[in-house]
């Protein structure tokens, strides 16, 4: 865990980052009403619900959120965002928190983060996602034994011709890679 001063600095830096995303400054207008948490299908499973996340940010206590089982439980359903009376794009805020965890190495071993990274990697390799490849990466990197109960489903999908054995690669992959290399991600190439 970070010290109080470090934690305050981390929270402030993160808030500055949020202000830079579309409509991100709305976070300043949070009235702590809790509509987000009440609307969230995952909040019961989170250690800190959406309202508490904003409260933690303001209190300079982001660290406790990042070190808890919280941000990767967001399923991106946008219920919080559409219901927020202040118009805070909270789902986008969660994306930024997820990226911060990836960046700081805090998401190692978190299944949803492993899934997201395996997905991005597959898309970078082929320009498209390939579900069989994605799931193979996912189970190998989390718990391969967890793949066993999936075998009957995989067999059903296979016999229906629904399993993509070989990934399809787009023709313009080289071009796409040039595009990806041309953009800066928060100052980092």
């Amino acid at each position: 865990m970070a010290t109080g001063v470090e934690d305050r600095q981390l929270s402030n830096e993160f808030l500055e980052n949020i202000y830079s995303i579309p409509h991100g400054e709305k976070i300043k207008e949070c009235i702590q009403c809790g509509t987000c948490t009440a609307s969230c299908p995952s909040s019961a499973a989170m250690e800190y619900g959406p309202r508490e996340i904003i409260a933690s940010l303001r209190a300079g206590m982001l660290d406790r959120v990042l070190n808890s089982d919280t941000v990767w439980l967001c399923v991106s359903c946008y219920s919080c965002a559409v219901r927020c009376p202040a118009g805070i794009p909270f789902t986008d805020t969660m994306y930024e928190l997820k990226r911060l965890e990836v960046e700081r190495g805090l998401s190692a071993g978190v299944p949803a983060a492993t899934m997201a990274e395996a997905f991005a990697e597959t898309v970078d390799q082929h320009g498209r996602n390939c579900e069989t490849k994605l799931l193979r990466k996912y189970f190998l990197r989390t718990n391969p034994l967890r793949a066993l109960p999936q075998i009957p489903l995989a067999a059903k999908l296979f016999f229906r011709g629904r399993l993509e054995i070989f990934p399809r690669t787009i023709k313009g992959l080289d071009g796409l890679r040039k595009m990806m290399a041309a953009i800066e991600e928060d100052g980092n190439k």
């Binding site: 991106s76 359903c77 994306y95 990836v102 498209r128 579900e131 799931l135 993509e164 023709k171 595009m179």
Partner: protein, 297 residues
């Protein structure tokens, strides 16, 4: 209905539809064909980034969608999508590029690295939107060949069809699919779970949470007396059809119900053959249900 748009659209199938959920792609193309809607596949399209590329790399996620939009702009039609995640990712990129000059400049510079550009002229449409708002319920009713009146349908739109952007329909209770299924002559059951989350990828990454969310949707569909659930998103479809037993354990209620794409149901009403709708791809007894309630498929 007076259509303000062309009857030809660029068509973005989405990665899921090339394999696991090809039934959605097959039934969409055949329904469009039967209705005289032209779908021209987007040339060399790439992944939209869905909801899972964003938490890893944000700007690059926008570049993924922007490349597709750039190709669509060159093809010169509106862009039709069938997957809710593609629909959202493409619209989000479109909107943010329009609203944020700095981001727009960065993305255009990235596109230029492969001699592409996007000026922001493409309108992204969901196939549901095209059917209901361009073609219209009346025109669709006139094409119905099979009687669906004995079939009770729970219309499940999924979370990303009308959220966060609610220009298409109500963000909490979208009714667009009900209007379509109603126009086909089926009985639509009131289904307040229409836009609740199916669990998305949590069904795999956090089964305890994911199956609870899936189960709630299936449970309510059963309680409302539906014979089947119609879906508009490939991830919703597989979550609802593949994990019914586990979902039933999670919510402690019966979750055994056929689940099919709205395009499959629509194709059945239009008199298309089972093969043209890939009904045998289903993990639930969709074909048996339709044979029984609608007539031989």
């Amino acid at each position: 209905m007076i259509s303000t748009t062309s009857a030809v659209y660029s068509y973005y199938p989405g990665c899921s539809q090339t394999a696991t959920n090809r039934a959605y792609d097959i039934s969409t193309r055949n329904v469009a064909g039967a209705l005289g809607i032209g779908l021209v596949e987007l040339r060399d399209w790439n992944c939209c980034g869905a909801t899972v590329y964003l938490p890893v790399r944000r700007k690059r996620a926008f570049v993924l969608s922007a490349r597709n939009l750039a190709i669509a702009e060159k093809q010169g039609h509106e862009l039709a999508t069938i997957c809710n995640a593609c629909y959202l990712a493409l619209r989000k990129t479109n909107k943010y590029m329009a609203e944020e000059p700095e981001l727009r400049a960065e993305i255009r510079a990235a596109l230029a690295a492969d001699a592409m550009d996007y000026t922001g002229s493409v309108r992204v449409r969901h196939f549901l939107d095209i059917l209901v708002n361009d073609l219209g319920e009346q025109a669709i009713s006139e094409k119905v060949r099979r009687d669906l009146s004995g079939l009770k349908v729970a219309c499940y739109c999924g979370c990303q069809l009308s959220r966060p952007f609610d220009d298409l329909d109500d963000p909490d209770y979208p009714l667009i699919m009900q209007r379509l299924i109603g126009a086909l002559g089926a009985e639509v059951v009131p289904f307040p779970m229409s836009a609740k989350c199916c669990g998305g990828l949590a069904v795999t990454t956090n089964p305890r949470l994911g199956r609870l969310l899936t189960g709630k949707i299936l449970k309510v569909a059963k309680q409302r007396g539906a014979d089947c659930v119609a879906t508009a998103c490939p991830l919703c479809q597989i979550n609802l059809e593949a994990y019914q037993r586990k979902a039933a354990e999670a919510v402690g209620a019966d979750c055994d119900i056929p689940v099919l794409y709205f395009t499959q149901l629509m194709g059945s009403a239009l008199g298309l053959k089972s093969r043209d709708l890939a009904l045998r791809d289903s993990l639930t007894p969709v074909k048996t249900l339709l044979n029984e309630k609608v007539g031989r498929q």
